[in-house]
């Protein structure tokens, strides 16, 4: 499909009364890519999505789809489709009529609309379900009908608002992969809202993390996970131990000191003014020691791994160890081995 277009926000703000739901946001979604808007609830990600759809009008700034400025256009006039969190399937129409709705509303002939709808239903493996009512379908099937209805107009941009939140955990992974596969097969431009960081990492070409109505960081999934730029991001994407202390350089190698514990860092460059280090729990290895400032306080069995909570001079430290490693008993004194590059210095 060659109709896919880019989306560009230029200094867009949205105010509700005096509250800024979206504050001076600029970003770009390249044509044919899947970009996720990720963030805690109330961060402005859904408002951003609705601004693209035209369901909300920007208070200031400009929105472009392709080369066209669509800021002043209403939802019906934008070439954008949306898959709603609740699916929003019309309960009084059957599956075929739901999918035909868009073409008919856009002035297509009935026969033509039917062909388009059947085509997309086949694509999503829903052939044979045409005459069912939405209430007679399972959650996963409803979701696929919602996707079929959204892509039937071959929109230039397709929007997803938390599409997996009404599915059970097992189905979530399957549908997630289906959405990604469909996007790549049809070369769609997709903007995808979620609050689940794992989902975001799994499906995206690029992730935009929002916090408090502004963009906190954007980048490829791996980049975001490995090089978070703030405490918020280090904690929000994956789990992190955030430890305050000071950085020192000895023999050209950086070390981190906190409350009498020194942690060797694999990096040579430490930004000036950095006061915090983020340690991923799964990138720390524990070694038995006879006496050390660190000891095991609690141990939890998680099936695929051990989860240790260590008592440390600054409080607690979370460590996740593979299950095949020797189990360490509570009270055991330990030393830390940190993978080179696994400790992330943070300015804030």
């Amino acid at each position: 499909m060659t109709r896919a277009a880019s989306v560009r926000f230029v200094n867009v703000s949205k105010l509700y009364g005096g509250v800024r739901a979206v504050n001076n946001v600029s970003f770009e979604v390249a044509a044919g890519t899947l970009v996720t808007l990720l963030g805690p609830s109330g961060c402005g990600k859904t408002t951003t999505l609705r601004l693209v759809a035209g369901l909300e009008r920007a208070s200031s700034g400009q929105i472009f789809i392709g080369d066209e400025d669509v800021t002043a256009l209403g939802a019906a006039e934008r070439d954008v489709s949306m898959v709603f969190q609740s699916y929003a399937l019309f309960p009084h129409l059957n599956v075929l009529d739901n999918v035909m709705y868009g073409p008919l509303a856009s002035g297509a002939k009935r026969a033509e609309a039917q062909d388009m709808a059947r085509d997309k239903l086949g694509l999503l493996g829903l052939a044979g379900f045409e005459s069912r009512l939405p209430s007679e379908l399972s959650g996963g099937q409803q979701q696929r009908v919602a996707v079929a209805r959204a892509i039937v107009l071959e929109p230039r941009v397709l929007l997803f608002d938390e599409p997996l939140s009404n599915l059970d955990a097992r189905l979530r992974r399957k549908v997630r992969d289906e959405i990604r596969e469909l996007q790549q097969r049809l070369g769609l431009t997709v903007l995808y809202v979620t609050h689940d960081q794992q989902e975001a990492l799994a499906v995206s070409d690029k992730v935009i993390v929002m916090d408090n109505a502004v963009i906190a960081q954007e980048g490829a999934p791996q980049e975001l996970y490995e090089r978070p730029c703030s405490r918020f991001l280090a904690d929000f994407i994956g789990e992190s131990n955030l430890i305050d202390g000071e950085f020192r350089t000895q023999d050209g190698r950086a070390e981190f000191h906190a409350s009498g514990v020194s942690i060797p860092l694999g990096v040579t460059h430490v930004p000036p003014g950095a006061k915090t280090v983020a340690l991923r729990p799964d990138r720390i290895r524990l070694r038995k020691a006879t006496s050390a400032p660190l000891s095991i306080a609690r141990r939890v069995y998680l099936g695929h791994s051990w989860e240790y909570t260590l008592a440390a001079p600054w409080g607690e430290l979370l460590v996740v160890a593979p299950i095949r490693d020797e189990a360490l008993p509570p009270g055991q004194a330990v030393e830390l081995d940190i993978d080179p590059g696994a400790a992330i210095p943070l300015e804030r």
Partner: protein
């Protein structure tokens, strides 16, 4: 693949074309003169041309798109203003003309153009459909509710010659027969305000107590079959308000069945106790109790049983659970029910007029100030003003109270709990009240059912006969086909026709209003909401007085037509549709509208293809209610009927007045039967909502005033 819906000005052009066509060919003025607008202008009444020119100018500008929006607003607004202004104050010195068909079309065209121009200027979020709908409804409500009511109430401040007179106002306002409290400490009569208030308060309290007893028994009483309660609760909706009063007279009047029985066997002397406060109160409580029952039963259903189960697991006894959990959660609904009973009692006209005797209330007093021997519109206006103030303060109290105290929410989530049975004492007390009440209700409807078939049930003459039906409803076979010679046929046909015409219009306006209110936000929304709900708060007698005062003279001269009856019902019953629509829309997720919009549908298409189909049940309920209300209403109608357009209820009230009870009862039973059949037929046609698992059972809607 997507169509842009640009405004090409086609619709403005169409509106202007229609207006010009009507201007040139259709009668411009109302009654007696078929001259077109063009003919009037040629006759020298040049101001009639102003609105037409404005209409044309707007249509011409509309081709220019958004740039000319402000100019279009100005032209269409000025045109409409000129039309009205010339109607009220003919500034060329000629007598004012009653606006007719041509003028109506021109006015509508201008309102449409103004709405579209406003949307083009950015109002209503630039949505032309919402703008047109809202502005049209607003204009209609202002013309047919706000204007007559304000004009009628202003009469309170002027004397017979039309000059403002403050001392007269004060004199009218402080009249002794309005405020006197003598009856509280002597045997003289109280003022009409005191009577009305006492009656309303008692009616509200007693009907709520009874309704609560019914609701508790139905929901928690462990009764096998509560269908009878639901059946009884439908009856008052299809019973004209004075019919109960009539049946009460037949049973308990001086020569009534029960009175005679007690006199003959227990030597209790005959008396006229039923005429006055006791009779009116019983009649009002009888018609109000089922409404209270429905409110309170709904509230009881809304209390999650898990709350009460939680109390029980915390070692609370049945009685303690009821007193500390169930009752506090129920209290807001109880308050709502008391206030509604109060308001309904204030608005009631049929029962006091039949049973009041020397006990006067505001609604009857307003009527006699207009229709009685002592015609005094100023006095009627001040009484109407007081009545309106009392009603509005009751509504205000209710909204203040409910705004802060509504705990009962329908989440739609399943609750697996089982509500606890009632404490024994409460159950016994409830049964003790409910059983005699059901017996009384059955007896009263029994009277209505058989009263038409015996010589004179009111005097105990029980010889079977069909002569009353023959008088009212005889049909003769003549050479020209069937001839409906019965005296009641005319009013029956008018009633059915008026109700059938009014019902769909009421529904359309009511549901569209609800849609606009629940789904769209715009400047002036608060004012729009206020005027549309105003009609609900205004008692029927006030509306009747207002219509007679406002629409008896040009420019809007409608008195004596069938049209005024239709208009009256449309705007009286519209709030029922608004309420039903709002309730139903709150159950429909907004994302359905949004999904439709993102699929390229305009607002009009969304409403037609998504919203209205989902509102099917609310639409049918409104349709039924407005039809039935139009057939049973009395209060506003008694002012508006004429010999040519008589309504069934007015006809029956006149029969009662003339003492012809058997004919009145025969007619009433026929009306009730007819409405039952209509409701059953609609139920059969519409059937159950089929939305599968998500289907929500339709709830009873609408608590209209008679």
């Amino acid at each position: 693949m997507r169509r842009r819906s640009a405004d090409t000005g086609l619709i403005d052009m169409a509106a202007a074309t229609a207006a010009v066509a009507c201007f040139a060919f259709a009668p411009w003025a109302y009654v007696g003169d078929a001259r077109s607008g063009l003919a009037w202008v040629l006759d020298g009444r040049w101001p009639i041309a102003i609105p037409i020119l404005a209409c044309l100018a707007t249509a011409w500008l509309a081709r220019g798109g958004f740039a000319t929006a402000r100019a279009r607003c100005a032209f269409s607004g000025l045109g409409a203003a000129a039309l009205l202004l010339y109607g009220f104050f003919p500034f060329d010195g000629r007598p004012s003309l009653a606006l007719g068909f041509g003028a109506a079309v021109t006015g509508s065209a201008l309102v449409w153009q103004a709405a579209r121009a406003l949307a083009a200027a950015g109002a209503f979020k630039a949505d032309r459909w919402v703008a047109t709908t809202t502005v049209s409804i607003f204009a209609a409500v202002v013309l047919f509710v706000l204007f007559p009511v304000v004009q009628a109430l202003l009469a309170a401040f002027f004397d017979r010659n039309g000059s403002f007179d403050l001392t007269l106002v004060l004199q009218r306002f402080t009249a002794r027969d309005i405020w006197a409290t003598d009856c509280l400490y002597s045997d003289r009569a109280c003022g009409v305000v005191v009577n009305t208030f006492v009656l309303g308060a008692l009616a509200g309290l007693i009907s709520t107590m009874l309704g609560l007893a019914f609701a508790l028994l139905a929901q928690r009483g462990g009764l096998k079959n509560t269908k009878i309660f639901d059946a009884l609760s439908v009856l008052p909706i299809i019973t004209p308000p004075f019919v109960i009063a009539m049946a009460l007279v037949v049973l308990f009047g001086r020569t009534g069945v029960v009175t005679t029985f007690l006199d003959n066997y227990f030597y209790i002397p005959r008396s006229r106790w039923i005429y006055g406060l006791p009779g009116v109160l019983i009649a009002q409580v009888l018609s109000q109790t089922p409404l209270s029952y429905m409110i309170l039963r709904g509230a009881l259903q809304g209390i999650a049983p898990s709350l009460e189960e939680a109390a029980q697991t915390l070692r609370a006894t049945r009685w303690r659970t009821f007193a500390t959990v169930t009752w506090p959660l129920l209290r807001p609904a109880v308050a709502a029910s008391v206030l509604l009973g109060f308001v309904e009692s204030l608005a009631d006209f049929g029962n006091p007029v039949v049973l009041g005797g020397s006990f006067e209330v505001l609604s009857t007093k307003v009527y006699f100030a207009v229709a009685g021997a002592q015609y005094d519109p100023g006095r009627a206006a001040i009484l109407a003003l007081i009545l309106l103030a009392m009603t509005l303060s009751a509504f205000w109290t209710q909204s203040m109270w409910l705004g802060r105290n509504s705990f009962v929410t329908v989440t739609g989530k399943g609750d697996n709990g089982v509500p606890p049975p009632l404490p024994k004492g409460v159950r016994r007390a409830a049964l003790g009240v409910v059983v005699p009440w059901v017996v009384l209700t059955v007896a009263l409807y029994g009277v209505i059912a058989i009263g038409g078939f015996v010589t004179d049930i009111g005097r105990g003459a029980m010889t079977p006969t069909v002569k009353h039906f023959m008088t009212g409803f005889s049909v003769e076979m003549t050479a020209n086909g069937l001839f409906f010679s019965g005296s009641a046929w005319d009013s029956f046909f008018v009633t059915v026709a008026v109700a059938a015409v009014a019902a769909p219009i009421t529904t359309l306006i009511g549901i569209l209003t609800a849609y606009v209110l629940s789904r769209h936000n715009f400047i002036g929304r608060g004012a729009f909401e206020f005027v549309t709900m105003l009609a609900f708060a205004i008692p029927g007698t006030v509306i009747g007085v207002a219509y007679i005062a406002a629409f008896n003279t040009p420019p809007v001269e409608l008195a004596g037509t069938g049209l005024i009856l239709v208009i009256c019902f449309v705007f009286r019953n519209m709030p029922v549709g608004v309420r039903a629509g709002l309730a139903a829309l709150s159950q429909i997720d907004k994302s359905l509208d949004e999904a439709s919009t993102t699929l390229g549908a305009t607002t009009g298409v969304t409403v037609r293809r998504v919203t209205l189909p989902l509102l099917k049940h609310a639409i049918v309920a409104t349709m039924v209610f407005s039809f039935v209300h139009a057939m049973t209403a009395v209060s506003a109608i008694v002012f508006l009927v004429t010999a040519r357009y008589n309504m069934a209820t007015a006809y029956i009230v006149n029969r009662v007045d003339a003492g012809e009870y058997p004919l009145a009862i025969a007619y009433s039973s026929l009306l009730i039967l007819f409405m039952l059949l209509v409701m059953l037929a609609i139920q059969l046609i519409v059937g159950e909502r089929k939305l599968g698992r998500r289907g929500v059972p339709a709830s009873p809607v609408g608590l209209g005033a008679h």
